[in-house]
Assembly symmetry: D5
Homo-oligomer: 116 residues x 10
Amino acid sequence: MPNPALLEVFESPTDTTFLIEHIAEEFTSVCPKTGHPDFGVVTVRFQPDATCVELKSLKLYLHSFRNEGIFYEAVTNRIRDDLVTCMSPRWLEVVTDWRGRGGIRSRITADHGTRA
Amino acid sequence: MPNPALLEVFESPTDTTFLIEHIAEEFTSVCPKTGHPDFGVVTVRFQPDATCVELKSLKLYLHSFRNEGIFYEAVTNRIRDDLVTCMSPRWLEVVTDWRGRGGIRSRITADHGTRA
Amino acid sequence: MPNPALLEVFESPTDTTFLIEHIAEEFTSVCPKTGHPDFGVVTVRFQPDATCVELKSLKLYLHSFRNEGIFYEAVTNRIRDDLVTCMSPRWLEVVTDWRGRGGIRSRITADHGTRA
Amino acid sequence: MPNPALLEVFESPTDTTFLIEHIAEEFTSVCPKTGHPDFGVVTVRFQPDATCVELKSLKLYLHSFRNEGIFYEAVTNRIRDDLVTCMSPRWLEVVTDWRGRGGIRSRITADHGTRA
Amino acid sequence: MPNPALLEVFESPTDTTFLIEHIAEEFTSVCPKTGHPDFGVVTVRFQPDATCVELKSLKLYLHSFRNEGIFYEAVTNRIRDDLVTCMSPRWLEVVTDWRGRGGIRSRITADHGTRA
Amino acid sequence: MPNPALLEVFESPTDTTFLIEHIAEEFTSVCPKTGHPDFGVVTVRFQPDATCVELKSLKLYLHSFRNEGIFYEAVTNRIRDDLVTCMSPRWLEVVTDWRGRGGIRSRITADHGTRA
Amino acid sequence: MPNPALLEVFESPTDTTFLIEHIAEEFTSVCPKTGHPDFGVVTVRFQPDATCVELKSLKLYLHSFRNEGIFYEAVTNRIRDDLVTCMSPRWLEVVTDWRGRGGIRSRITADHGTRA
Amino acid sequence: MPNPALLEVFESPTDTTFLIEHIAEEFTSVCPKTGHPDFGVVTVRFQPDATCVELKSLKLYLHSFRNEGIFYEAVTNRIRDDLVTCMSPRWLEVVTDWRGRGGIRSRITADHGTRA
Amino acid sequence: MPNPALLEVFESPTDTTFLIEHIAEEFTSVCPKTGHPDFGVVTVRFQPDATCVELKSLKLYLHSFRNEGIFYEAVTNRIRDDLVTCMSPRWLEVVTDWRGRGGIRSRITADHGTRA
Amino acid sequence: MPNPALLEVFESPTDTTFLIEHIAEEFTSVCPKTGHPDFGVVTVRFQPDATCVELKSLKLYLHSFRNEGIFYEAVTNRIRDDLVTCMSPRWLEVVTDWRGRGGIRSRITADHGTRA
């Protein structure tokens, strides 16, 4: 199940505002209604304050959703909340792009703070 | 015929403003003038207030246009109105992209409220 | 329901062997199991003998599947049989490409005779 | 020759501001200098006031340029003027995209009013 | 109307067998049934014997179909016949790709001789 | 774990040889060495003899690999063997396309019988 | 060598502000350092005041750089200056896109005036 | 190791503000954690003040990272700092796009000054 | 003018048959009829016997056509002949792809020997 | 320098003939003439006999070319020879696709044995 304790950070290499974007193309969780797997792409964009999320820890954290029954909207807001808690970024945006179900593709976007 | 009673909602998982986009790539209705089928893609984008439209109910609602004779402009405004009625979103936009007729492709856009 | 009586032919403009390909990108029928609509692309390729199928009649024939409950494999073989009956072509191939259901896209191919 | 009398309108299905875009991919006219045919794509975008241009009448109007000797810039401004006259839209934009001549492709844009 | 007298040839620069392909992306003729314009791409491939068709003359010949009412199949066989008559090539193939009508795109192929 | 008992068949709708292709774009299993998830696309092509695999049962069978630790080569041969056992097709081919690991993408192909 | 005397203008067909874009995909000049040819795409966008550059004269002007040894940055500013001199446009932008040298592609943008 | 002494500049050919963009598609460095090579695309955009970086010197400078163990974020900020030091541009942006590691692609953006 | 003396070879690194393909995307010559520049892509494929053409010498040889007035067909056969003379390959094929003139793109193919 | 001792194999999971393809998109070596880095994509396709090359060992072997000065043709034949020595496959093909140098892209193909 989703495990934010997996997330690790490292100190930002600069004091100036800059932008980091990680695109995880191999996300999967489970539909809580049907039990069928959902597949999507998770994009995380942020302007760090003091710390940046470490890439391998982000990968393991995203893998922890693999067998979790959870809706698209909840996945997106959950990742936003967990990353804000661990990094306290100046600005952060999470976008999830889901492959089609019944001919409908979905994209959910949640953010935090104001982009400089 | 178009049946807004098919639409169901669920409670938004968060109070913060976020963005949901559903892209239904398999929409079909009928041209009221010629009786020939029209095919298009319907995109619904919204920032929910208290509730979000449930995905499967949205699919069934869109299927209810299948044998309806209705113009492009009317389809677009009808979907906008029905979704605003059922969800009262902070902001909503409906875009319909229609495959060509006589060498002309069309796109109609209708919205409601102000995007945050 | 599928209506082969809609198919009309015209006399081939030449005695030499040549190749005709029609790609109907707006085919829809209904899944007999779930009642949900199926969407696909139907490609018809043939080398005519004495007659060629008329384009508008082909369109109306394909539209006659719109509300028929019928499986992918049956659609493909049915179109092959109906076109062979009406045209007696030297060679004919029908390919149907179906949009995904549950994350699986399908393509069915049926033919008749030998391509010169 | 270009015939604005071919244009017909229908009453807008709503009082709210919405956006219509028609993309005619099969436009052809004649270069008045060389007599060679020109081929292009004509895109018409508008926010209607009380009326919308009817799609089939738009197609016939565009076909009326087929054997007219007329420059790119004049085609674009002419279509803008004729559509403004027939519809009095709140906002309208005409974009013409021309295939290359002597290795140079061209795009001309003319508009009217202010987009809401 | 189609005018094969416009076709000119030049002497092949070599005795060895080689392959020439010309792709005319701006072909238009008229549907004899509806009077509406048809748009397509005409591809001519050949292995010359003693002569090759001159490029500008090919362009003018193709332009001569502009206001001719003629079906897809007849256009294709007509171009094949006219080019065989003027060049006597070892092998020649004409492929016409037509933009959609009523949601159906078409491709017609006619050839002459045997490709080395 | 992979469960061939999930596979169901239905009777082929025709005696003539035809071709079926299913492309499952959402396959995932686990690397037995690292425990990390693998993601791929599984394509199944076959010419049925008396029976065809039912589409929903194929989906559930493929989902049964979700938490199995198994190498690319073994997945591919396993699916080939299970489908041959359940359908006894005239010809069958399984292709698996795996997303990159360490900058290397892989594709494995296994078949059975001779394509008509 | 670059010859602005080749540039000709014609009177703008309208007093309203509109936008013209010409994309010349076949530009070549010579690197003054190595003597090797450079290849690029030159895009000219402008809002005319009283006159517009004539298309064929623009082509011949661009061809006059063919054997000139000149850097990317100088080409771009030179074309901007020559076009401003001949047309006195309300706004003009020149973008040059150069194919890679040593694995590096370049794009240079220069403009004049303020876009309406 | 990264060597800013390799960077050379030349005098800007104009006093007006213009924009230069160099896209180096063949960048490679080494992951300091695993020792595995990283591959990416480095884009440098700037509005020069008095001087512009010379293209071949930029290439050699980027090559000097080839065997350096350095994180994505540090590469990006390092290139930004070195280019600002050598050119004192009015505005500069460095974007690095990295190929996937463990299914995650990354893009880092750092800038300096204000774009005119 | 075309200068085969620029071509240099090196000894093939193996006795086994293998395949080399060079794609020169920046070829330009001049139309002998109009004096306008032609732009194309030249692809050279061969199975070497004892020697292979050196890459930089091939580039300089292709540049030597820059200001030569020569037809498409003659360019292609000329390159074929010059490369056969300098390398005596087991098999060689030259393909030239030319950008459009008057809406017609062309491709010419000439070969020598038999591909193993 | 290239180190075939890094290559490891595992036992083939089946006796039947099947096909494995690995595409390494991040290959780099050094041009022995100029000292500049070369970047390419290495594709290895084979039908195993008793053993298959292990994926991570293949990655490390390809990385061992990173600072080796070696021509395109020699890289390709060297990889072919090293893989044939370690696996004794029934059939093997190595294709290297190199990014452009001086506007010329190259592809080299070497194989061993006969594909079943």
